[in-house]
Each structure stands twice: as C-alpha cells, then as structure tokens.
C-alpha cells in the first residue's frame, strides 16, 4: 500500500516537473533565508551569515537535483531522453537505419514465424483436459509394414485388466463411409469409438452430447458426433443439426452432438460414431480375433501413475499373452508395445522438419545480428569522437552504455515491428506446409506468447549488439581527447572483432547453403525417380459403387457393379482423343492399404525368415496399357479371366525377384496366407502367375517399390474400382465429360480424386519442395547478408587505411598490387569462414539425414559447389573495395 502510493506519487511526479520546481526553489530559498536570519541574530555580519548558510546547505543545485530524483522516476526520464536522442541519431543516418532494420526484421520475422509454428504444433498444451496425462499405445513388430500394427479387441481387453496405471483405455478405429444426401454422395472419414473415448480424451461438446458407455455394444441406436470442422464445412455450423438423421452407408444415424475443435488423430476425420454403426466391429471376428488388429488405443494415466509404471505393466501383460497365444505372436517378429505421450505422437511427423526450419532461422538471425553488429561497430568508430566529447562533458561509461543500449533497443524494436509483417506472411505459408505433417496446424497463431518471444528476441539482439560494441575503458577518454578527433580510427581490437563477425557470417551461410543444396539435390533426385509408369496424359478417378463395408463383407450387395464399371469404361473410351481406359484399384501412384502375406508353391521360407507382405491390387485387361505400366513377362489379364475361370494373378518385379530370383515365374503358383485371411473376403487358394509387371513407386517416390499382387478386376471387386484414362493430349479436358458419364451410370456413387497421374506425382513431392525452397531462400538471404558484411568490412578497412595505401602507392606499389593486398585480406576471412562452415555443415547434414533422399549427407559435390559459390560471391563482394583502394590517388591522400 505504502509502496504503491509512493510509486503513484512518483509517476505523478513525472508530469508535474515545472510547477514543483518553482515550489522547491521557493522552499529552499526560504530555508536559506531563515538560516541567514538566524546567523545574523547570533551576531554575524550579513555577508558572513549568508556564506555560512550557503555552506551548510550543501549546494542548492545539488539539493534540487536530489529532490527531483526523489520526485519522479529519474531512470525513466533519463531513458526517455535517451530514446529521443537515439531516434534523432537514427534519423540522421537513414541508410544505416534502413539496412539494419530490414536485416533485423528478416532475422526476427523468420524466427517469430517459425517459432509460432513450433509452439502451435509441438509445444502448446493440448486442448484436451489434462492433455499431458494422455498416452498413445503403439504395437509394432519386426518386418515391413509392422511399424504400427494397431491392437485387436482381445488385446485391448488384456490391457484393461492388466494395466491399472492406465485409468481409461479408449478404442478408436479408422473407417470410411459413404454419406448419401439429397445433393449427392460423398465419402467421409469416420472414427468408430468406444463410449468412453471422449471421457478418456478429455474433450467436450460444443453442441449436444458426446458418446457415453451406454452407446457401446449391440442393440443401441447408431449415433454420430460431428467434428467441429466438418460441422462448419458441411452443415455451415447449423445448430439444429443435433437430433437430425444423416444417411451413412445407406442407414440412418442420429447426430447427437458436435465436438469441440481438437486435433485430428490419427487421421483427418469428419465424424465419430459408436461401434454399432459397423456390423463388422461387433462381429465375432472383430471381438474375438486376437490377430485382427484394427484399433488405435489412447489411454489416460491414472492419477499419480507414471508412464514408466504403465510401461512396466503393459510389458508384463505382453509377456504373458505372448506365452499364452503363440499363434498370434510370431516369436521371430518380436511383438512389442510402446507408450508415447499423446502430444509427442501428434508432433511426430512435423518434428524433424520444424526443428530444421527453426535451426535455419536461427542461423539467419545469427548472421543478421553479426552483420548489424559490424555495421554498428563501423558507425561506432565514426561516433567515437562524439562519445569522447560526451564523456568529457561528464557522462560516465555506465551512462554511455545505457545510451548505446537504448539505441540498440530502438533498432531491434524497429526490426521487430517490420518483422511482424514478415512473420504474418511466413505463418500463412508455413501453416499450409505443416498441415501435411501435423493435425495441430489449425492451432498455429501469432498470439501473446509468440509476440512475447519476439520481444524477448529483440531484447536479446539489442543486448548482444551492445555487448559487442566495446566502449573505451573509463579513464582512457582524456588521452583520446588529447590525441585529437581525426585519428580515432578503429582500434585493433575492434577490427579483430569485425573480422570474427564476418567469419561467423560466412560460416553460418555455408551451413545454410549446404543444407539448401542437399535438400535441393534431394528434390532433383526425386524428380529423376522413375515412377515405373508413363505419367503423361493419364487421368484417374475413383468411383466406389459399394460402400467400404459392403466391399469387405458383402461384395454381392450390388450384383450389377461389375457391369456398370464396364459400361463406364466403354463409354469413356469412346470419348474423342482417348487412347485407352482401364479399370482397377487402387489408382496407380496411390499406396494400397490392403496387404497380406504371400507364399509361393514349393518355397518354404527359411527358418526365422518372414514371408513377404504384398499389396493387393486389381486390374482389368486394359489397366496396364492405360497406366503405362510395362509388362516384363507373360501376358496381361484377358477378358477370359472372368469370375468363373481359373484363378490367375500378375505380380510385380519386386515380388518376382523375391520368390523366383533366377527362374521364370510365369506359370508358378502363389497364394495369400496368414491368420488375417480369416477376416478378409479372400481365399487362400493357389493362383497361377500369368505375367510380371514392372515396379511402380506407389508408396512415394522415396520409398522402395513394395511387392504387389494384381488380381483380375472381374474376379475381385472388394477393394473398389476406378478409371484410368489415357489420352493423346490435354487429358485434363476429359475430366468433365468422363465425370458426366460416370454420374449418369452411377448417380449415387461419389466420384473421388479426379486427378492426373502427374498431379499425384507432384503432390507426393510438394512438401519436400516447399521445404527445400524455404531453406534455399534462407540460404540465399544469408549469402546476401554475408556478402554485404564482408564487402562492408573491407570497405571500412580501406577507408581507414587510405593514408597507408597512399603512402604505399607513392612508394611504388601499383594498383594491381594494392588490389591484391585488399583481396587477400578478404580472401583470408573467406577461407577461415569456409573451413568453419564446411565443418559445421558436416554436422548439420547428419542431423537432417532423415530428410534426404538419394544424396549422402556429406555429398562431396554439394559441399564443393557450396564452397565454390560462397567463395565466388565473397570475392566478388571484396572486389568493390579492392577496386576503390586501387584508385586511391596518392597525391590527394598525402596532401590531406
């Protein structure tokens, strides 16, 4: 209270200066008069009385100063004066101010933008209640495709019984359904969840209610909870949606509520349904099949329980069930469960990229600060005279330090204000990049915390700049004044610091350039990758005639499906310009999620060797020609490979190499195998290989081709169908006509992913391209700043050495020699910076190894190219001051 009151009085004191000053003068004068009068009364003569009184006062001016300090907040007044002064000084050097502000704005802006993304995606607390208590369980095993196996219902049951540290275990199963409405049909992604899902996740509804344990089991009404995003997108945020019915997979489902905005996990999802929506999820295969793993598991730690406790308990459960159910856990595959904090799982895919960008931005900031420090140092030399005069007039070193700090703060804040503009643009760009990696991209924003980060960054930058600007030591001022103003060129120490800063800039630029080079080369390598098919002029579209559930469990639901697909094919093929139309699924360059183990007749796997797991794809007789996939051996499917004829397959080269390395595979037999077949509408019968197709990069350009088994489209509609249309030119123009045909033949079926193969290919590399582009632009930015830095330092050095150079020239040094001298000065700095940079890049490249493809992290060509480029640009930057040095007229400099 007392301090508050005093503080308020002092703040008030800031604004009452003049009036209070008059008052104070009167008061002190009265004191002096009274004391003088008293002295006279004691018998002194008036002059002596006054002198004595003055002496006792200790000085009226000093007293006035002391009271003023007590009255207001002297440091604020001092800083206000400093700010005023700093602004004036910066206005006087507009070029300096502009360059510095822009440089700092780039550094601060880039860092702020990327920090806001890192914060939104990786650091911010989850919107879930006590989100840090949520964990994700991941079951994995050795072998391809077994990095995340999900869980089966019996496994979840065992976990519930055996892991008390997990207070709630929620099940989530990804599914797709067709939603029919008056204005057409669309496929939606849904999650089938247990009733405790929302309770465990700690999420609340914005409308209506969420599912509860009473929504579990058979015989309950099917209900749906819409995600916030889907509710807004599809229903325009209409609150009357609660209680309405929607048609999913041809059956009515009641919407009971809308979920709060929350990150999607594990996939983008439109609605969350109770299990009764899927017959399959309540069937015996699902509920009893221990190896029927299609459930994601999220759990909430019990109060007081730790992740380690949960790990121990789950480990014990797994040790037990692996002994008990040997048939479901192949000992060679080492089944295991990892327990990962939910927040970490959400950030998993974005983490490496984001830290890469954050690191790159930090480098840009280092370079920017080094450059600005150099500029201020040079300016400081010119200002040395002024500082010396100020010191002579009574400003202490502390006072000058504060003045410089205030100047630097003003500069940094100027940079920060401009940086906000850059950050706003940057955040927008980055959000679109991060959306591909993280379900939390919608949480990215420039909020208070980010602006706080920016402010802190600016203050740190200002402090750094102030520390680097070395002031003369106390007491050395006098000698400098005696030395005379004009001779105060940069001290040796200062020059050494400038050089060190230039070296830092060059080294950091090299690191950035090397990163950019490696990522760009990765892009080039990816673009060179042979997709295995001719992607030009091919349009694809998926047309699911059956719902996903029907496909899997009741393919006979639409007996006319095959005939309708054939009609679409024939009619589209009749469009002008069309060369070939094929039917199949999934579309080329799309990963297939349907994978089973395969075995070859007469080829028992070696002990401990896992069977290959192959993608199941379908193709009709025209598919390979339409997609441009070469048939290496054998024949394509024929129209005679119908539903009733013999079971035939075409396998790709990867699988052929695996099973039949030195044999002719045509005519050999393979079969699907494994426990999972019991749950799939597919038989383990032997099938005869009739052809070998070339490998295609369906899993991404950077992924090795997976083994594939093609089955005749006519024999197997269970994974859906789509059209592959090859035309002679401008295939995009066919999209409208083909869509019209499909819509006429199948009015209620969704038409999905109408895209050319070139678009598919492009889409698979675009995040990497954006990545490479960002790092490259950072690299180019860095090189420009560094080039300006080294050029500036040399120019400064030349102007400081004008006299010396003049003397050299008058003593016979020709201009070529002077040029060489200056160039070698710059070359030395460049060389040191290059060496340090290459060493730094070597380590940095190892960190980003995971983002590279087809390039070694220490790729000599990249490193050499970067070094040559940096050296060339650096030398070019040195050339200008060197040229200026060589044009110095000795006559003029000597006379001066």
């Amino acid at each position: 209270m007392r301090h508050l009151r005093a503080a308020l009085a002092r703040i008030g004191g800031l604004f009452t200066g003049h009036r209070a000053d008059d008052d104070l003068r009167d008061e002190l004068q009265a004191h002096l008069d009274m004391e003088t009068a008293e002295n006279i009364r004691r018998g002194m003569d008036p002059d002596e009385a006054r002198r004595k009184a003055m002496l006792a006062s200790g000085g009226l001016t000093q007293a006035g100063e002391a009271v003023r300090d007590q009255r207001g907040l002297p440091w604020i007044e001092g800083i206000a004066a400093d700010v005023k002064y700093a602004l004036r000084a910066l206005r006087h050097g507009p070029a300096f101010t502009t360059v510095v502000a822009i440089t700092l704005a780039l550094g601060i802006g880039a860092n702020t933008a990327i920090f806001s993304v890192v914060r939104g995606v990786l650091l911010k607390p989850l919107p879930h209640r006590e989100g840090d208590r949520l964990v994700y369980l991941r079951q994995s095993a050795d072998g391809p495709g077994a990095a995340n196996l999900n869980f089966s219902v019996p496994e979840v049951r065992d976990l519930r019984n055996g892991a008390p540290s997990l207070a709630g275990i929620a099940e989530y199963s990804s599914w797709t359904m067709i939603q029919q409405s008056a204005d057409g049909a669309e496929r939606i992604n849904v999650g089938l969840v247990t009733g405790n899902y929302f309770e465990v996740m700690g999420l609340a509804p914005v409308l209506g209610r969420l599912t509860l344990p009473r929504d579990d089991g058979p015989g309950v009404p099917p209900v749906a909870v819409l995600t916030h995003q889907y509710w807004v997108k599809r229903f325009g945020g209409d609150s009357s949606i609660v209680g309405r019915q929607v048609t999913l997979d041809k059956k009515p489902v009641t919407v009971i509520g809308v979920l709060q905005p929350a990150p999607f996990f594990p996939d983008r999802v439109d609605a969350l349904l109770n299990m009764v929506n899927s017959d399959h999820h309540l069937s015996a295969t699902m509920v009893e099949g221990r190896s029927h793993r299609m459930t994601e598991v999220v759990a909430r730690l019990a109060p007081g329980a730790t992740v380690d406790q949960a790990r121990a308990e789950v480990g014990a459960v797994y040790a037990r069930i692996q002994r008990e159910f040997k048939e479901a856990y192949d000992p060679a595959a080492h089944y295991r469960v990892a327990i990962i904090p939910f927040k970490e799982v959400l950030g998993e895919r974005a983490r490496l990229t984001l830290w890469l960008l954050m690191g790159a931005a930090a480098f840009v900031l280092i370079i920017a600060v080094a450059n600005v420090a150099n500029l201020t140092l040079m300016r400081g030399v010119r200002r040395e005279h002024e500082l010396v005069v100020r010191a002579a007039l009574g400003a202490g070193v502390a006072r000058l330090r504060r003045l410089l700090l205030v100047e630097n703060l003003v500069l940094a804040f100027l940079g920060a204000v401009l940086g906000v503009v850059i950050a706003i643009g940057g955040v927008r760009l980055l959000t679109s990049l991060v959306e591909r990696y993280s379900p939390r991209a919608s949480e990215i924003r420039l909020d208070g915390a980010v602006l706080g980060f920016m402010l802190a960054l600016s203050v740190i930058v200002a402090l750094l700049l102030s520390l680097l600007a070395s002031l003369p030591r106390e007491g050395s001022f006098a000698s400098r004044i005696l030395a005379g103003g004009q001779r105060l060129s940069g001290s040796l120490r200062k020059q050494r610091l400038q050089r060190a800063l230039v070296v830092v800039q060059i080294a950091a630029s090299v690191v950035l350039l090397a990163g950019a080079g490696l990522l760009t080369r990765t892009m080039v390598r990816l673009a060179d990758v042979d997709t295995g098919l001719r992607t030009e002029e091919v349009l694809t579209m998926q047309v699911p005639l059956l719902t996903p559930a029907e496909l899997l469990f009741n393919p006979a639901a639409d007996p006319a499906a095959k005939e309708r697909y054939d009609r679409m094919r024939r009619e589209v093929a009749a469009l002008p310009g069309v060369i070939e139309v094929g039917l199949g699924s999934p579309m080329p360059l799309r990963r297939s999620d349907v994978k089973f183990d395969v075995k070859a007749e007469g080829k028992a796997p070696a002990v401990g060797e896992a069977l290959p797991r192959a993608e199941l794809r379908t193709a009709d007789p025209h598919f390979f020609r339409a997609a441009g996939i070469p048939l290496l051996q054998g024949r394509p499917f024929a129209t005679t490979d119908g539903p009733a004829s013999g079971k035939v397959v075409i396998i790709n080269a990867a699988l052929a190499d695996r099973f039949f390395p030195n044999e002719d595979p045509v005519g050999k037999r393979i079969a699907w195998t494994g426990e999972v077949l019991r749950f799939a509408p597919i038989s383990g019968d032997w099938r005869t290989i009739v052809g070998i197709a070339g490998n295609t990069r369906d899993g991404g350009l950077d992924a090795e081709p997976a083994p594939v088994v093609f089955m005749p489209f006519a024999q197997f509609l269970a994974i859906g169908g789509g059209l592959v249309i090859r035309a002679d030119s401008n295939v995009e123009r066919l999209a409208a006509a083909a869509t019209r045909i499909v819509r006429r033949i199948a009015p209620t079926a969704p038409i999905e992913n109408v895209m050319t193969l070139a678009q598919y290919k492009d889409r698979s590399v675009s995040p990497r391209r954006l990545n490479a582009a960002l790092i490259s632009s950072f690299g180019i930015l860095a090189v420009i700043i560094a080039a300006v830095g080294i050029g500036g330092v040399l120019a400064f050095s030349v102007s400081a050495r004008t006299n010396e150079i003049g003397i050299r020239m008058s003593l016979g040094a020709d201009s070529a020699r002077v040029q060489r001298m200056i160039l070698s000065e710059g070359g030395g700095l460049l060389a040191v910076g290059l060496v340090l940079g290459v060493v730094g890049a070597f380590f940095a490249a190892r960190v980003i190894q995971g983002l590279l493809f087809g390039v070694a992290p220490h790729d000599p060509a990249t490193f050499l190219g970067v070094a040559v480029m940096m050296a060339a640009i650096g030398l070019a930057a040195c050339w200008i001051p060197a040229l200026r040095a060589s044009r110095i007229d000795p006559a003029i400099t000597m006379r001066a």
Partner: protein, 114 residues
C-alpha cells in the same frame, strides 16, 4: 563534543516523524534545526539529504505539507504528521527500541571476558 555522524538511511525518516510529533507543523528549516540540536550538533543535515527525505515521506503518505507563514512572517512550507504517519512512527519506534536492545545485549561485555 564528539565526532560528526552521517545520518543513516531510515533513521532520518524516524527523526523527522518524531520531530513533527513533538513540535507539530514545522518547516524544513525548523526540522533541520531541531534534529541538529537534539543530536547536540553531531548530525548536520544538508538540503540534499533533508528535502528528498521529506518528499519521500510525503509520497508515502506519512506527512502532508502546505504553505503558511513562519514566525517572522516568511512564506514557508509547513509539514505535519498524518494519521498514517503517527502509526508508522509508533511502529518504527517500537522496532527501533527492540533492535537497539538486541544490539546492546550483543555488544555488552560478557561476564568473565574482561
């Protein structure tokens, strides 16, 4: 007569408050004289010490001031104690006594030591 002492921070405020309590409203000169006399001239107060202290007490709300006429008809600023100042004086005096006793006890020659 003894040596001259510096006024310790904090004690000056206490002296000013006590002076105003004893003598009632008083100008700065009067306060200074009273403190110097009470200390038998071992303390001298220059303006740069006294007036910031008066201002600080006023800012803290322990004293208030107004312009008035001095005994010999001079215009002077008179300081007087507020209610909060009275309370503060009592509190500080009590603390000071306790501290003084404590220090005295500490510094007293112990039996057997001399």
């Amino acid at each position: 007569v003894g040596e001259k002492l510096d006024v310790k921070q904090g004690t000056l405020a206490l002296m000013i408050l006590k002076t105003l309590e004893v003598l009632g409203p008083l100008h700065g000169y009067g306060v200074a004289r009273r403190i110097e006399e009470t200390s038998k001239n071992r303390l001298t107060l220059n303006y740069g010490t006294l007036y910031p202290a008066l201002l600080k007490l006023e800012q803290e709300g322990f004293i208030k001031s107004e312009w008035g006429q001095s005994e010999n008809n001079r215009r002077a600023r008179f300081y007087s104690l507020t209610a909060a100042g009275r309370k503060q004086l009592a509190r500080e005096a009590r603390e000071w006594h306790q501290t003084a006793e404590l220090i005295a006890a500490f510094l007293a020659p112990r039996r057997g030591e001399t």
